[in-house]
């Protein structure tokens, strides 16, 4: 591929780029080239699919610009040459060197974002009258709200049990049960964007859609195909003909012929048809096979048979269409109603989920006026758009982009567009991505933007050995993989290895020893003999082999560092891939049994881990002290590590009631073990705080006082420690973020955890162990997208059982159309009817292709070694079968002992050793101030009033005074009275009436020689003396305690008012003035 063409900032380009070929390199290089070309950062919009990828891109850009800014001339030139810049004059170099700062400080900044991130920016600036609700928050987890919507929907049905909706719902329940019905409707809601697109502009969307389906299916509501057929002479003839032909055959055939005759005699048409079907179709609803015997004339026989079955099938098809229509009517009505509830709930809480966001943005930009407005409403004006992973784009996003481009053109600034992607890696159909869009975009961009198309099939990632397998599998163009071009390795010398392990087969189980036979039944004694795990399955054997082999890999393989030097393979070099998570447990079991540390991507697993459950149990107990089981769990957890003897002791004290009083009882009467006593002590403290402290603070106290992390580490086997520690931290972070939310409380926190737990897919992930972890990683292929590892193991690759879709939405969205051409629902494989067959076929084809894409992604993750294992009978079309068919038998160049690359442990050193010891000790600092009493507070207020009511600048208005002194309304009146009274006292007039003195000053600040700031309440200057007044809040008392303070004032003022006498007095709240000598 010509890099030069790809990076040319003047041209739009579409790059189809194979796995490992450095898409990010290309994309970021292009950004650099754009910047060098004088493009402002704010004019660049780069969109990719995950936040992680966006962050990586941003980081890479900064790293490179920094290199340009800080590197030597040679380095910088070399960098630019690599990016196809040949003539590098000084001006260009200078420009390149300045980019770093320009980009870092640019305002508006460069936009490197996900679609959703960018959509969010757009929607925040949406025109106020566009109908996009203002001030929406993005809702990332929708499960709880969907559940709420479902309940609200059910509630509305309960309130109108005879309405049309309720009747439709009843129909669905009868057909598909509660579970099926809900799946159907939820799937409808999940496809709401498509639904909106499909039905937009329609007054009564459901009515319209149903009518369209009716026309598509070619049936009438009142059609009765059975009656029609039974009344149809041609069917009658076909039945008779076939029966007659059949009657000339074997005995069985004769009796069948008879059955057919009898069936046709049945009077009632529906019944007749049913009986006929019974005779002619198997239990599984397949046509029974009828074959001509030698004696019969084959041609006549087959003609008669096929004529009859053809006619029957036509009727059956019409019936299916009718049923499908009926079902769609019910499901669309109910689905639309459910959807309304869901949207309503979100609107009420001012939230918007990802789909809403996509839809709203698309809709917004679809309105020419708004689209144009958005061009200038955003602070950034994009002139260059870069799109990464384009194969993952969905039709709505593509439409949005098109609308954006069109509006930009209308606003007179058509951007250049750079698209990079790989249809071979399109695996997100379930997120509504459509890989066909890549071709569509390519054509569109070529046509409208003159975009060049380039293909890149050289990979920098995989070793030739791995590529050989990849090429082998895909050159055969399996399952619609028609666009494969041979991949070439950039690193020809990189040692590689591909191995397909023999399929694991279940051992022939010895027949269960029937000790019973003859000798009577002898049952297992559960106290002595554990039940045998049903674990002899083939998959378990595969798992065992897998774990053993992993141990071998870390013991004796080597992998290559980036620089080319080999080092010992470690757990973290191994990436294990599964297609789905269903059987993960089996493999994890095997790893655990060998103490192999692993990080499983079991998404959403955090709250189900034992440590997280322990803490939830503890918190539950703290807010529900009668939760005995929760308490018992906390006691047994490493937090308290109580033994079963401890529990038994508590069980024996049943008289005391619940377990908490029992614990109290035994702790107080001294019967408790040290563990129980500690538990009692700590729990008592936490119980007292549970309703007062914020959850995070409570948890922190528990973590700390309970010495939680250390205790878990001590109790757990080595390979589980890191994970447990990480999970405890992750749990803490949930508390932290939930706490930062509004109106927190412990019960609400626990309720939220329950919701999160129930929301499977969206539940919080397990904690990530630190960077230094040495664990093998298990991913699904979907999660592994964008990742790579020296060694990749494909597990369970012979499995062909894939869940078939049911209760889904069937869509036909032609790639260039603004809306789907077809939208309907289907329950399962059966009952789909005939008319939709092309759509189903198209779907299936896409699914098969995607299955191959997944394999492509999986295989290309491997840098050096690819191992494949599976179990059961060889399935040639399985991943295993496909790779096995092409894998050669080379030696294993990775099997090579080299020294471990573990850095020698760096001791913390003696100095820090001593420091550590010290740091482990508390350093008390800070203190809680005593609460001001009401009296003290009143004193302060009175003080403040005096300051403000005494001249100069005296304030007279009561309200202003109250506000300025911060006095609560209820307190003001008496204080005000008192202040007025004081100021009016005749004896004090010489200090407060300006006729009597030369000058006065409230709150006078000075600084003394020590640098201390001091403040005098009131300083009054007379001709030959100066008075310092100090207000005291209480009634008159002894002046002795104030002497030192007053002395300080006197000395200071004496230095200032050198020529005058300085006199000091205390003014008490009762009006007493006491001079201090």
């Amino acid at each position: 591929m010509e890099i030069k063409a790809a990076l040319n900032p003047q041209h739009s380009v579409v790059v189809e780029s194979c796995a490992g070929s450095g898409k990010t390199w290309l994309l970021v290089s292009r950004i650099v080239r754009l910047l060098l070309d004088g493009v402002q950062p704010g004019e660049i919009l780069a969109i990719t699919f995950t936040r992680k990828a966006a962050q990586e891109m941003q980081a890479r850009l900064h790293e490179w610009l920094q290199l340009l800014a800080a590197g030597s001339d040679d380095e910088a030139r070399q960098f630019l040459r690599e990016r196809a810049l040949d003539e590098i004059d000084d001006a260009l170099l200078a420009k390149a060197r300045g980019l770093y700062r320009d980009v870092l400080l640019a305002q508006p900044a460069i936009t490197i974002s996900t679609f959703h991130g960018w959509f969010m920016q757009v929607i925040r600036r949406a025109p106020l009258n566009s109908g996009v609700p203002a001030g929406m928050q993005l809702l990332e987890r929708t499960a709880a709200l969907r559940e709420e919507a479902w309940q609200a929907f059910a509630g509305s049905l309960r309130d109108a049990p005879e309405g049309q909706l309720a009747r439709e719902m009843q129909w669905l329940f009868e057909k598909y049960g509660l579970h099926g019905t809900r799946s159907l409707l939820e799937n409808f809601v999940a496809k709401r964007a498509e639904w909106w697109a499909y039905s937009s502009g329609q007054q009564d969307a459901v009515q319209w859609a149903v009518e369209r389906l009716r026309a598509e299916f070619g049936v009438d509501w009142d059609a009765d195909p059975v009656a029609d057929a039974c009344a149809d002479a041609s069917l009658h003839a076909a039945v008779q003909t076939f029966a007659k032909v059949l009657a000339t055959g074997t005995e069985t055939q004769c009796s069948k012929a008879n059955e057919i005759q009898v069936a046709w005699e049945v009077a009632d048409a529906q019944e007749r048809f049913a009986v006929l079907q019974n005779v002619l179709y198997t239990q599984a609803d397949e046509p029974r096979s009828f074959k001509p015997t030698k004696k019969q004339d084959a041609e006549t026989f087959l003609l008669a048979r096929d004529a009859l079955f053809g006619k029957l099938q036509a009727v059956r098809d019409t019936l299916s269409e009718l049923e499908a229509l009926r079902m769609n009517k019910a499901a669309l009505h109910c689905g639309a109603a459910l959807l309304e509830h869901y949207q309503e709930l979100k609107l009420r809480s001012q939230q918007m989920d990802f789909t809403d966001l996509e839809w709203q943005v698309c809709r917004l930009l679809d309105q020419g006026d708004c689209a144009e407005y958005m061009q200038y409403k955003l602070d950034s004006r994009y002139r260059h758009v870069l799109l990464d992973e384009f194969q993952d784009t969905n039709p709505l996003q593509w439409q949005t982009l098109q609308a954006w481009f069109a509006a930009a053109a209308a606003a007179g600034s058509r951007p250049t567009v750079f698209v990079v992607g790989d249809p071979k890696q399109s695996i997100y159909r379930f997120r509504r991505a459509d890989a066909r869009l890549f071709g569509v975009a390519r054509a569109f961009l070529h046509r409208e933007f003159g975009a060049r198309y380039l293909a890149q099939n050289e990979t920098r990632r995989n070793a030739p050995a791995v590529l050989q397998a990849v090429n082998g599998v895909f050159e055969g163009e399996p399952d619609g993989f028609s666009d494969f071009a041979e991949h070439i390795a950039h690193h020809q010398g990189l040692p590689g290895y591909v191995e397909v392990l023999p399929l694991a087969a279940a051992k022939d189980q010895p027949p269960p020893t029937r000790a019973g036979e003859g000798a009577g039944i002898v049952l297992r004694n559960p106290l002595i003999t554990p039940r045998a795990e049903e674990q002899s399955g083939a998959r378990e054997i595969e798992a065992g082999q897998f774990a053993a082999r992993i141990a071998d890999i870390v013991a004796s393989w080597s992998v290559q560092e980036a620089g080319g030097t080999p080092r010992r393979a470690e757990y973290r070099d191994i990436m294990v891939l599964v297609r789905k998570r269903t059987h993960l447990r089996v493999y994890e079991h095997a790893l655990r049994a060998r103490h192999i540390p692993f990080l499983s991507s079991r998404r959403g697993g955090l709250l189900d881990t034992l440590e997280a459950e322990d803490i939830q149990a503890l918190l539950t107990f703290l807010i529900t002290p009668f939760a005995d089981l929760a308490l018992a769990q906390a006691l047994r957890s490493p937090l308290f590590s109580c033994s079963d003897e401890d529990l038994i002791l508590l069980a024996q004290n049943a008289d005391s009631g619940c377990w908490w009083p029992r614990l109290k009882h035994v702790a107080e009467n001294g019967a408790a073990s040290p563990q129980l006593q500690r538990a009692h002590r700590l729990l008592t403290g936490w119980l007292a705080h549970a309703d007062k402290l914020p959850v995070h603070d409570l948890l922190d106290r528990i973590y700390f006082e309970g010495d939680l992390a250390h205790r878990y580490v001590a109790a757990l086997p080595a390979e589980q420690r890191e994970a447990a520690r990480a999970n405890l931290q992750a749990f803490m972070e949930i508390a932290l973020s939930v706490d930062a939310g509004r109106y927190p409380s412990l019960p609400r926190f626990l309720a939220e955890l329950r919701e999160l737990r129930a929301a499977e897919e969206e539940a919080p992930d397990e904690g990530r162990a630190g960077e230094s972890d040495h664990a093998l990683r298990i991913y699904t292929v979907h999660e592994a997208k964008g990742l790579e590892a020296p060694v990749v193991w494909l597990l369970d690759a012979n499995d062909m059982h894939h869940k078939t879709d049911s209760y889904g939405v069937l869509l036909d969205w032609p790639t260039n159309a603004p809306r789907p051409a077809h939208f309907s629902l289907y329950p399962d494989k059966r009952g789909r009817g005939n008319r939709r067959a092309p759509y189903f076929a198209a779907e299936e084809e896409c699914a098969r292709r995607e299955e191959m894409n997944l394999l492509y992604v999986a295989m290309t993750r491997a840098k050096q070694a690819l191992l494949v294992s599976g179990s059961g009978e060889l399935a040639e079309a399985s991943w295993y079968g496909r790779i096995a068919a092409v894998a050669g038998q080379g030696g294993n160049p990775l099997q090579m002992a080299v020294a471990s690359a573990f850095p020698a442990f760096e001791g913390a050193g003696a100095r820090s050793g001593a420091e550590l010891a010290m740091l482990c000790q508390p350093v008390p600092a800070g203190r809680r101030l005593p609460h001001a009493t009401v009296e003290q507070q009143r004193g302060t207020w009175l003080h403040a009033l005096l300051q403000n009511m005494a001249p100069p600048n005296a304030v007279a208005e009561k309200e202003i005074l109250q506000q300025r002194c911060g006095i609560p309304p209820g307190e003001m009146e008496p204080l005000w009275q008192q202040a007025q009274h004081l100021l009016a006292l005749p004896a004090l007039q010489r200090f407060f009436d300006s006729q009597h003195y030369r000058n006065a000053c409230n709150e006078m600040s000075y600084v003394n020689a020590n640098g201390e700031l001091k403040r005098i309440d009131r300083l009054v200057e007379f001709d030959n003396e100066v008075w310092v007044l100090d207000y005291k809040t209480g009634p008159a008392s002894d002046v002795a305690p104030y002497r030192a303070q007053v002395r300080e004032y006197r000395i200071a003022m004496q230095s200032v008012y050198a020529g005058k006498a300085v006199r000091c007095a205390l003014l008490f709240a009762d009006g007493t003035l006491s001079e201090v000598e």
Partner: protein, 912 residues
């Protein structure tokens, strides 16, 4: 009080203050020691003390009367105004009403829009922007600013702003922003004293205007820290990186090396992986500083979450933090009680809201806490047991005879009445709220809490401010309003005095500390984005003369510069990775780092701290750490061995003795949950009940026409399901599911009758002594008889294959064997009832023999148990999957070890 640092070399901040002090003294040398004639404008009051110190030091006198040192806000506040000022709460209400009347925005949060609009109007005021009289002119102005032609969207934007701006500024009353301006104008008019201004970043427009106006009448001297820093060699690298964008890094680096060959910047950067590590690093660093004798340490919180975590970690070591930043009212538990009360009202006392409310420490504060707790736990137990989801009256019925609970509920009802329904004014609502809170004892509770007291004060203040407003609001509208108020208000906790303080970047202007920790310095927080307005865009803001985003960022850069210039011990931390994603350092610091590395070969990374983190945790008093987990197998004292057991208990014993131990010896159970929807077990129970009733009425089916039977069974089913259906529409689906099985069930029944079996009874309880010490008890679903033979059956709502599997291995599921023993039955079977399929599944073994073996084993196991045999946690995965005791046996902690003991590495003991 702190004395002037006397130690060694002068710090940079001292140089700054010293030059300010000398300048002021020089200007006022004739007035010394009385400087009261001067005014110093401070960014905050913390700068007063060092300035005073330097003044007295430079003057070298025993005392100085200080200039007036004041912040501009306070100074302005001291100016009395003739006109009254309309509080923002009233303006918001008026604006809301205006928006409501105009119906411009459907579905929108009008309070939110009103807030945004008020902000915009205030900004316009502050920046003295007057909109043209004619809307068309305004539109034209916008078109120019947007550099685009105006379509409908722009027209609408112009119209909203234009119309409301005129509507809102029509009155003679002052709003807060205009009042401030008037005050400043008055101050400037009366200007006479020389003014000294300490500056660290650009002033807001009104303030800057004021300074100019003042300068016209009296001398003004501005001390701009940015410029002062630029002249200070120690700050050269700072100025180059943060202020000078013209030169290239390499040139700057070369110049720096040439003019300042020694690095002087005392900043270190620590990139953490993850939040916890960042917090740990901050915690350890602060404690190191404390140990090193630093006494004035600032935590500058750019990321509040981390700050919160750090605070907790420091508290572990006994370090309390003085917090200068505020807490948003809505995040305080004091506000929680209030909102939960409103939630409970709105949801008709949905049990979760209700219990949550009652568990708040602020409610019923007029009675002892333990009484309230006792009542709420009682109520909760009732609610869980009876599954009551909401309605106050239902709870009252439930609590019949429980005086404590009743009192609580009655008070709730009174309070609910006080709050009423319908619509009233905002202050009317607030008053009613206060009254209801009074009835609930919440007012009392809040008063005892600093945050609570502040909340009460705020509520009262709003009520007072709004007293004159007559707009009526629905309860929902008012709630929205209240939520917004609580989101906007803050509470600052002043109850702690400490050498360590938590503050914000903008509050550090002109302050110097012994050490500073900048938390959360990633690109997302520094510079922070601020909350951009929905009105217009940056270009329009610029052209109208309103502040732009760039100004906002520049301000933060300046603040950072000032902080780094004023302080010579600074650690900045950020999360270099976050949830496995890269997370970039703040561009300002990034720039500084690169320049510093180029110039001095030092990338500023803090390298010591990382290795200290794990070992430097403060631990609680020593207590032995737990042993490595192992499979539990308790033996139990004979006194605890149960005297009776049910078949399901026996099943549990077989599946896992430990599970049996937990359930039946410790007698631990999961708490009941209030279930709002129908679940499978309800379904099972109801079907049992239906069949029981049905067979009692129709013991012999053959005697009745099939249609009648079907009808009767349908009828009974509808009756049994009726309460559930009335409560929950979805229960119908379950009813239908059962009804679809009815024909198949009747078929199976008929077949059984034809085989000679007669119904003898259902739901039959039994208690059968097996020996002196053990009895078997339970309830049999169904018994049939046939000529001296007996058959026991159990209904199951699962598929037959599953049941067959359960029965495959003898003695693993003992339910049927137990029934068979009790009835000395000849046949025993599960009846699998599924949608349109009813199948009978019997154990494949010889039944009497199985029953016999099963009882013998039971007796044997019990004998062993009494003799002290251990009850191991022997469950297989299948048993464990739904076992509620997994937290007790802790299988996942030891199972790998148990299976593969020989490969287990020795577990290192942690601890002291």
């Amino acid at each position: 009080m702190e004395t002037i640092r006397s130690s060694g070399a002068q710090t940079v901040s001292a140089v700054f203050f010293d030059s300010v002090a000398r300048h002021i003294l020089a200007q006022h040398k004739n007035e010394i020691p009385d400087l009261r004639g001067a005014i110093v404008l401070l960014p905050n009051y913390h700068a007063a003390q060092p300035l005073a110190q330097h003044l007295v030091q430079a003057a070298n006198l025993p005392a100085l009367l200080l200039p007036r040192m004041v912040t501009l806000g306070d100074w302005a506040q001291s100016v009395p105004l003739a006109a009254t000022v309309v509080p923002d709460t009233c303006r918001a209400a008026v604006l809301y009403q205006a928006l409501r009347a105009r119906r411009w925005f459907q579905d929108a949060d009008l309070w939110g829009i009103a807030r945004e609009l008020l902000d915009l109007l205030d900004e316009l005021t502050q920046h003295c922007v007057t909109l043209p009289q004619d809307e068309e002119d305004f539109l034209a102005q916008l078109e120019r600013a947007y550099r685009a032609r105006g379509g409908a969207a722009m027209q609408f934007e112009a119209r909203v702003v234009h119309e409301l701006w005129y509507a809102m500024s029509a009155g003679v009353e002052l709003d807060v922003a205009r009042a401030y301006q008037q005050r400043l104008a008055q101050l400037a008019q009366q200007a006479s004293a020389p003014l000294y201004v300490l500056l660290a970043s650009n002033l807001a427009a009104p303030d800057a205007r004021f300074i100019e106006a003042y300068r016209a009448r009296a001398p003004v001297t501005v001390f701009d820290l940015r410029e002062m820093a630029g002249q200070q060699p120690e700050c050269a690298v700072l100025a180059a990186a943060l202020r000078d964008a013209s030169a290239h890094l390499r040139e700057q680096a070369a110049l720096l090396r040439e003019h300042h060959p020694r690095a002087a910047l005392k900043l270190r950067l620590f990139g953490a992986h993850g939040l916890e590590q960042e917090a740990r690093a901050a915690d350890v660093q602060v404690r190191r500083w404390l140990r090193a004798g630093k006494r004035n340490i600032a935590l500058v919180a750019l990321d509040r979450l981390v700050a919160r975590r750090v605070r907790a970690l420091l508290e572990r070591a006994g370090v309390l933090i003085r917090d200068e930043t505020g807490w948003i009212l809505s995040t305080l538990s004091a506000s929680t009680v209030l909102m939960r009360w409103l939630d409970a009202l709105q949801s008709d006392f949905y049990h979760q809201d209700l219990l949550d409310l009652l568990k708040s420490p602020f409610i019923f504060a007029d009675q002892p806490a333990h009484e309230r707790k006792q009542a709420v736990y009682q109520l909760e137990q009732l609610v869980r047991k009876h599954g009551v989801a909401s309605h106050l009256q239902s709870f009252l019925d439930l609590a019949e005879g429980q005086a404590g609970v009743q009192t609580v509920l009655v008070r709730l009802r009174q309070a609910a009445e006080a709050l009423g329904k319908g619509s009233t004014t905002l202050s009317g609502w607030l008053q009613a709220l206060h009254q209801s809170l009074g009835i609930l004892g919440v007012v009392r509770g809040l008063e005892t809490d600093a945050a609570g007291a502040q909340l009460l004060r705020s509520l009262q203040a709003w009520q007072q401010e709004l007293a004159a407003d007559t707009t009526r609001f629905s309860r929902a509208e008012w709630r929205h309003w209240l939520a917004q108020q609580l989101d906007a208000g803050t509470f600052s906790d002043q109850s702690i005095d400490s050498p360590v303080l938590l503050t914000s970047l903008s509050a550090t202007r002109w302050r110097s500390f012994d050490a500073v920790l900048l938390l959360g310095c990633d690109a997302a927080h520094l510079p922070g984005e601020g909350n951009g307005s929905v009105w217009f865009n940056d270009a329009v803001h610029a052209s109208l003369g309103l502040p732009t985003l760039e100004a906002h960022r520049a301000q933060q850069r300046d603040d950072l510069l000032a902080l780094l210039a004023m302080n010579d011990t600074v650690l900045a931390t950020w999360q270099a990775s976050k949830n496995g994603e890269e997370n970039l350092l703040s561009p300002c610091l990034e720039m500084l780092r690169v320049l510093h590395e180029l110039a001095y070969g030092d990338d500023l990374a803090e390298r010591e701290l990382g290795s200290l983190l794990d070992g430097a945790q403060v631990r609680p008093p020593y207590f032995p750490l737990p042993e490595p987990a192992a499979m539990p197998a308790p033996g139990i004292p004979s006194g605890l061995v149960p005297a009776r057991i049910s078949p399901s208990g026996y099943n549990s014993l077989v599946a896992c003795p430990y599970q049996f131990y937990a359930r039946h010896i410790l007698r631990l159970n999961e708490m009941d949950e209030v279930r709002e929807g129908v679940e499978k077990r309800d379904y099972g129970e109801w079907v049992h009940g239906i069949l029981h009733r049905f067979h009692q009425r129709f013991p012999v089916q053959a005697e009745h026409p099939r249609a009648a039977l079907e009808e009767a069974l349908h009828g009974i089913s509808v009756e049994v399901f009726a309460p559930a259906v009335a409560r929950d529409y979805l229960a119908r689906a379950w009813l239908l599911r059962w009804q679809q099985a009815i024909p198949a069930y009747l078929d199976a029944q008929l077949e059984s009758e034809q085989a000679g079996w007669c119904y003898r009874g259902s739901e039959v309880p039994f208690e059968l002594p097996l020996d002196d010490e053990l009895a078997l008890h339970g309830r049999i679903d169904r018994v049939d008889a046939r000529a001296g033979e007996c058959r026991v059956s159990d209904y199951k709502m699962t598929d037959a294959a599953n049941l067959r599997n359960m029965l495959k291995e003898p003695g693993e599921d003992v339910q049927l064997a137990s029934y068979a023993h009790v009835y000395e039955a000849d046949e025993a079977a599960f009846i699998s009832i599924e949608k349109d399929r009813v199948v009978t599944v019997a154990p494949p073994q010889d039944l009497p023999e199985l029953a016999q073996a099963s009882v013998e084993r039971l007796l044997e196991v019990f004998a062993q148990m009494r003799a002290g045999a251990a009850l191991p946690a022997h469950g297989v995965d299948e048993a464990c999957e739904y076992c509620e005791m997994r937290g007790l046996c802790r299988k996942s902690e030891w199972e790998a070890g148990a299976r593969n003991q020989e490969t287990a590495p020795p577990v290192a003991k942690g601890g002291e």
